[in-house]
């Protein structure tokens, strides 16, 4: 069994119109090498599901997105993702804006093969107006409470970034917070991970890291070795987000041909020279992980 793939093979397995979930949280642990490979491809009409960071803005700017499903889209130190904001204000992209917890429940329902999960979250707010397809369900027990039936968010593919992996599909994800990567993996028909390090056998290389395994390998379809592949987002515990790069990205969002310039400067030339184009591998490895 060998699940190793390259970026091109993963993107070749994706189809127009698919629903694609992206792991991580804001500007943290995004599989950006894979996102850039999508940006360079012909894929279109995607539904993208995420606790969003720069991947959402970039996919919107490149015209890849038909519909967004998100709890938020933020670069944290730049509170509103600049290209996402631009795309939303221009109209033309359908948006299913959710409470962060509803996104959790929708992914969990899909992973458990349920049609919905009941919750109070969303009731009384504009979430139900933004998502007019949401229905309520009445408790069959004595309480008779009416609850929101959060529909399952089934994914065709989930894209995640991990710290290390082996060719069997075993993964370990360092960092203080697993976020909801495991829910994305389980909600998806196929899960593809990019990894900082590919090891021969994770049980032999890092047995002490087993608790950092967020989901079992049977959920993983493909493993791509992509060191520094989360740049410009944080990859715990290796490097922090690239604030200077993201500031430049945000500034370009205010300019007429800003996205084109970003794409041509950093993305178009392929992944091979990417680290050099953004200042070199050494520089990325030295980026501190921000604290607050």
């Amino acid at each position: 069994m060998n699940k190793q793939m390259d970026l091109g093979a993963v993107v070749a397995s994706l189809r127009d119109g698919m629903t694609i979930g992206v792991g991580g949280w804001g500007p943290r642990r995004k599989p950006m090498a894979l996102i850039r490979e999508i940006l360079r491809s012909d894929l279109k009409d995607l539904t993208v599901v995420a606790y969003g960071g720069p991947e959402i803005g970039m996919l919107c700017a490149a015209g890849k997105v038909k519909r967004l499903v998100y709890g938020f889209v933020s670069l944290d130190f730049i509170p509103i993702e600049p290209f996402f904001r631009k795309a939303r204000q221009a109209g033309g992209i359908a948006a299913s804006e959710l409470d962060e917890g509803l996104l959790l429940l929708g992914l969990q329902a899909a992973g458990h093969r349920l049609p919905f999960l009941p919750t109070r979250v969303g009731l009384g707010s504009d979430v139900t107006a933004i998502n007019p397809h949401f229905r309520t369900v009445t408790s069959p027990y004595e309480d008779g409470e009416t609850l929101l039936a959060m529909p399952a968010i089934a994914l065709d593919a989930a894209l995640l970034h991990v710290s290390r992996a082996d060719r069997l599909g075993n993964t370990q994800t360092d960092g203080p917070d697993p976020y909801f990567d495991a829910l994305f993996a389980r909600a998806a028909e196929h899960c593809y991970v990019t990894t900082e390090a590919l090891v021969e056998r994770i049980d032999l290389a890092c047995p002490e890291g087993a608790k950092a395994s967020l989901f079992e390998r049977s959920l993983v379809t493909g493993v791509v070795e992509a060191p520094l592949g989360a740049h410009p987002t944080t990859a715990h515990d290796a490097y922090g987000w690239d604030a200077d790069h993201l500031k430049e990205y945000a500034r370009l969002a205010t300019e007429e041909d800003g996205w084109q310039r970003y794409f041509e400067t950093y993305v178009a030339g392929g992944e091979a020279g990417y680290a050099e184009r953004v200042g070199g591998a050494e520089r990325i490895r030295d980026l501190p992980i921000p604290t607050f």
Binding site: I80, R120, V121, L123, G124, D126, A129, F180
Partner: protein, 267 residues
């Protein structure tokens, strides 16, 4: 208690906001933004040692973590609070958050999502609803708004109801409204709550040098002046020392426009 006049309005607001957590028990105190976070830290280090706080990332700490660069200091975790557990704490109700909405209306409904009348094409895209819908029907929430004006305290309804308030309008027909628990609303002018008749907004204390009429003028909806309305207490030396220790680089100075002094000169 030693009084001092050498304090900023932000420091006064931090002390007022800390009061949100008085007597609330062993809840997860989430302060989003510098003033709410410093307020929670101040509460924990003075009258509410029982509250739970995080390091701003994923660990619980018994000693509030100062804002800004840590210069190698590592917080000592007393527990783990990754986001999935934050949702557990939220939905079980043992949490009290303080957040900063962009708009707040007379029904206590709050918006951080977007501005403009069209939900599918916002005039200004803001943060999205984030955790506001779930927070608002799960546990007590307080708010801090650094610029009290009719733009923030809107005349009609907020453009997007992210935080549920006391209005019936968005509840599905036949569904019993869930209880909403709003704590205090601290601004650069006053402290308010929604404990008037039928959850009407009330001013419960005016910051030094501020008159009720001035607050009303800066608010897009009618306010009540609580019978018990007082002057917001000024910080004492201990509180100021704690605030300065928790914010050594002075991030709080950037929160309220112009970083005015805590006691306004008579207008």
């Amino acid at each position: 208690m030693t009084e001092t006049t050498d304090f900023t309005l932000a420091e006064l607001a931090i002390c007022a906001a800390a009061e949100a957590w008085r007597g609330g028990g062993e809840v997860l105190a989430t302060g989003i933004g510098p003033v709410p976070r410093l307020a929670a830290g101040l509460a924990k280090l003075t009258f509410a040692p029982e509250i739970l706080m995080t390091d701003g990332e994923a660990f619980l700490v018994e000693e509030p973590v100062p804002l800004g660069p840590r210069n190698g200091d590592r917080p000592r975790p007393s527990g783990w609070m990754p986001y999935h557990r934050v949702f557990d704490a939220t939905w079980c109700g043992r949490r009290h958050a303080m957040v900063t909405p962009v708009q707040l209306d007379r029904w206590g409904q709050a918006n951080i999502a977007a501005l403009g009348p069209e939900l599918d094409r916002p005039k200004v895209q803001l943060l999205g609803v984030r955790g506001f819908p779930g927070n608002s029907i799960s546990h007590r929430n307080s708010m801090f708004l650094p610029a009290h004006s009719p733009r923030a305290f809107v005349a009609g309804e907020v453009d997007v109801v992210a935080s549920v308030g006391f209005s019936d309008r968005r509840w599905p027909r036949g569904v019993a409204k869930l209880p909403v628990d709003i704590g205090i609303v601290v601004t650069d002018l006053c402290v308010m709550d929604f404990n008037g008749p039928d959850h009407a907004a009330r001013v419960v204390s005016l910051h030094p040098g501020v008159r009720f009429a001035q607050v009303q003028k800066a608010t897009g909806f009618p306010l009540l002046e609580a019978d018990t309305c007082t002057t917001t207490p000024v910080p004492d030396a201990e509180q100021l020392a704690i605030i300065r220790r928790l914010d050594p680089t002075g991030i709080r100075a950037s929160v309220i426009k112009g970083n005015p002094p805590g006691v306004r000169r008579a207008a």
